[in-house]
């Protein structure tokens, strides 16, 4: 119980999961537990020691998604998203922010391998592989919003403010991106910008590959967040930022084309969330079987046992949905879009309840920074908003289920 059922995994998936779990148990968790102050180091670059990233590097979890022909990994494509989910869960069980940092590389690698010209893949994948600190980021959200603003209506007035205009053999990008995972310290960005203001977002948005050192790109700040603090969320400004014409990944239909990224992304998001839930359960199950109140270990008090059962049940329910949704994504099932949003939103709300139980069952200790339970609570809370709010996710579900009615444009407000 609580963990994935080995029976549904391939031998390789089990071995990869075991290797990742050993790394987390031996290296990540002891670091997080004994260095809880590091989360609050206000120099974002210093927060996570290089040794953790080097350890992640040694077992190869920074670069899943890079094809084997460029020195990456030969994952079975038919079960790739399920494998991503399995590994993301294990890393997040150790630290959710570390998981964010690493999975962003997997997700953006999917976009690059699918849309970047061969010579650009040959240039960037080896660089990604050889530098343990090389991170990728995906720049969609803008100060005015992201999916919440284009979601109901695919119309020109909802389009992105970031613009890209072709000038000779270069695209010139101007605009601002915010709340970008790895935005603060990535070396290579996939950037979405409006290239046709006369049409809706789904027809007028293009994507570009932008190296960090490109003149005109400025990383303006690291957003300090309540949880997942070992991933450095950033803000970027583009001022006449010129990228060569071949750095265009997808013209006009970038958002529609990025479906593979978005679906895998939602699954990974739910899986990381599950990892936080599993950590909550493991810590709490251990605590209530050792901590004594009224002369009895906590678990002998029925009110405590009931809460623990509730935690376990919610985790199993989330796991079932994540498994079903990830299988649907791997198999390109017609319901994949709906299921992956369901898994993401359901995981965020259920694991929040699991984390709340964990906090409560730890009593006063639950609120203490050095105990590490409040960290799990904060990490769980982030998921409600990351990669779409719960309400936007629900809107996406219904829009997909009833496209003729729920997705209709009602016209501009007067």
């Amino acid at each position: 119980m609580i963990h994935a059922d080995d029976g549904i995994l391939s031998q390789e998936q089990r071995l990869m999961r075991d290797s990742c779990r050993s790394f987390v148990d031996d290296v990540v968790t002891p670091f997080i537990r004994s260095n809880w102050q590091r989360e609050w180091d206000m120099s974002p670059g210093e927060r996570l020691p290089g040794s953790i990233l080097e350890g992640a590097e040694a077992i190869g979890i920074r670069t899943l998604g890079v094809p084997e022909e460029f020195g990456g990994i030969d994952l079975d494509r038919e079960t790739e998203v399920r494998t991503f989910a399995l590994i993301a869960e294990e890393i997040a069980r150790g630290d959710s922010g570390l998981a964010d940092k690493l999975v962003q590389n997997w997700k953006v690698s999917i976009v690059i391998r699918q849309f970047a010209a061969k010579h650009l893949q040959e240039k960037w994948f080896p660089r990604l592989l050889e530098d343990p600190k090389f991170l990728l980021a995906h720049c969609l959200t803008e100060p005015r919003g992201a999916s919440d603003r284009w979601l109901p209506y695919n119309v020109p007035e909802a389009s992105m403010h970031t613009r890209a205009v072709l000038d000779g053999d270069h695209w010139v990008i101007n605009g601002r991106k915010q709340f970008i995972s790895n935005g603060f310290d990535a070396s290579l960005y996939v950037v979405y910008a409006n290239t046709d203001p006369s049409v809706g977002m789904l027809q007028g948005t293009s994507s570009f590959l932008v190296p960090r050192e490109t003149p005109g790109l400025t990383v303006t700040k690291c957003n300090e967040t309540m949880g997942c603090r070992f991933m450095n969320n950033g803000e970027l400004v583009f001022e006449d930022c010129r990228v060569p014409a071949d750095h265009l990944l997808v013209k006009s239909t970038a958002l529609a084309s990025a479906g593979q990224y978005f679906r895998a992304g939602k699954i990974i998001q739910a899986a990381k969330n599950l990892g936080v839930g599993v950590a909550c359960f493991e810590r709490t199950a251990d605590y209530v079987q050792n901590y004594v109140q009224g002369g009895r270990i906590l678990i002998k008090h029925q009110a405590v046992a009931l809460r623990l059962a509730d935690m376990a049940t919610r985790i199993e329910a989330v796991r079932s949905l994540v498994e079903r949704a990830s299988k649907a994504v791997d198999e390109a099932h017609p319901d994949a879009d709906i299921l992956c949003n369901m898994a993401k939103v359901y995981a965020s709300e259920e694991i929040m309840k699991v984390a709340t139980h964990a906090l409560e069952l730890h009593g006063g200790n639950g609120a203490m920074l050095e105990f590490g339970i409040e960290k799990l609570f904060r990490d769980a809370a982030i998921f409600l908003h990351m990669d779409a709010t719960v309400d936007v996710s629900r809107m996406k579900i219904i829009k997909n289920m009833f496209p003729a009615t729920a997705g209709k444009y009602a016209g501009p407000e007067t």
């Binding site: 031998q11 071995l15 990869m16 290797s19 077992i59 190869g60 990456g72 990994i73």
Partner: protein
């Protein structure tokens, strides 16, 4: 140089195992299994020798049920070249293991055999020694350091009261102790690559070895639970209780 490494699939050392209710053995149903930690050290040493250019082929062998192939796969992911599963559902005692490994060694003709000093399930600590005797090879058990030369191997052994260094003419057998090295985690790309490495399958009968047990397990039971201790208020009370209650003074 060719190295043969013998590995065993055992219950994960981090798992708390329980005796079966009828006392016939340990309950292994649904227990997480893993490579014997000392065998992991043996594999790591072989891989390091290969990486240092001292060895050119590593063959891993395991004797056990079908699932032992997973243990071999882990060794292949760590860097071994190919695997051999001698498949049997029976409990194989150290002497039978040594006889099978002798036959494997005669077929494979390795220069060095490395294995863990003991398996953490029955803690017999016999296979390596028996195998070296059957083969008539020199043995360096409880190794904490290996220096491989062209014709000989220098083994630093952890013995009571210190370290002993022996030089063994090749071919030779080494059993790994805890401090020989720190094994690596199998990396995810290497786990996927290991899928393509070959694992042969044989049975003990192929080597003409009978695995019927010679020992009878009389009873397996859990260690007696200790009664809770008490806190005493003073040295005087401690001495008094040791004298009057414990009767040790």
């Amino acid at each position: 140089m060719k190295i043969l490494v013998a590995v065993k699939r055992v219950a994960d050392p981090n798992v708390k195992v329980r005796a079966l209710a009828d006392g016939s053995g340990v309950d292994l149903a649904n227990v997480k299994m893993t490579m014997n930690p000392f065998d992991e050290i043996a594999v790591e040493e072989a891989v390091r020798l290969k990486e240092a250019g001292r060895a050119n082929e590593i063959v891993v062998v395991s004797i056990g049920p079908e699932k032992s192939a997973e243990t071999l796969r882990t060794a292949l992911a760590m860097g071994a070249d190919r695997g051999l599963l001698v498949r049997t559902e029976a409990t194989v005692e150290p002497l039978a293991v040594a006889k099978i490994l002798k036959a494997v060694a005669e077929a494979e003709k390795p220069d060095v055999i490395i294995t863990g000093k003991q398996a953490i399930d029955d803690d017999a600590n016999q296979t390596g020694q028996m195998l070296s005797a059957l083969l008539g090879w020199g043995q360096g058990t409880f190794a904490s350091k290996l220096v491989v030369g062209d014709k000989a191997i220098e083994v630093t052994r952890e013995i009571d009261g210190g370290l002993q260094t022996v030089s063994l003419a090749l071919p030779a057998l080494v059993t790994a102790d805890l401090r020989l090295n720190e094994p690596r985690y199998a990396s995810l790309p290497n786990i996927m690559k290991a899928k393509k490495k070959p694992i042969d399958e044989r049975t003990p009968a192929d080597y003409g070895v009978a695995v019927e047990p010679r020992l009878t397990v009389v009873r397996v039971h859990e260690p007696a639970t200790r009664k809770a201790g008490i806190k005493v208020g003073s040295v005087g009370e401690l001495v008094e209780r040791l004298r009057m209650e414990a009767g040790v003074l």
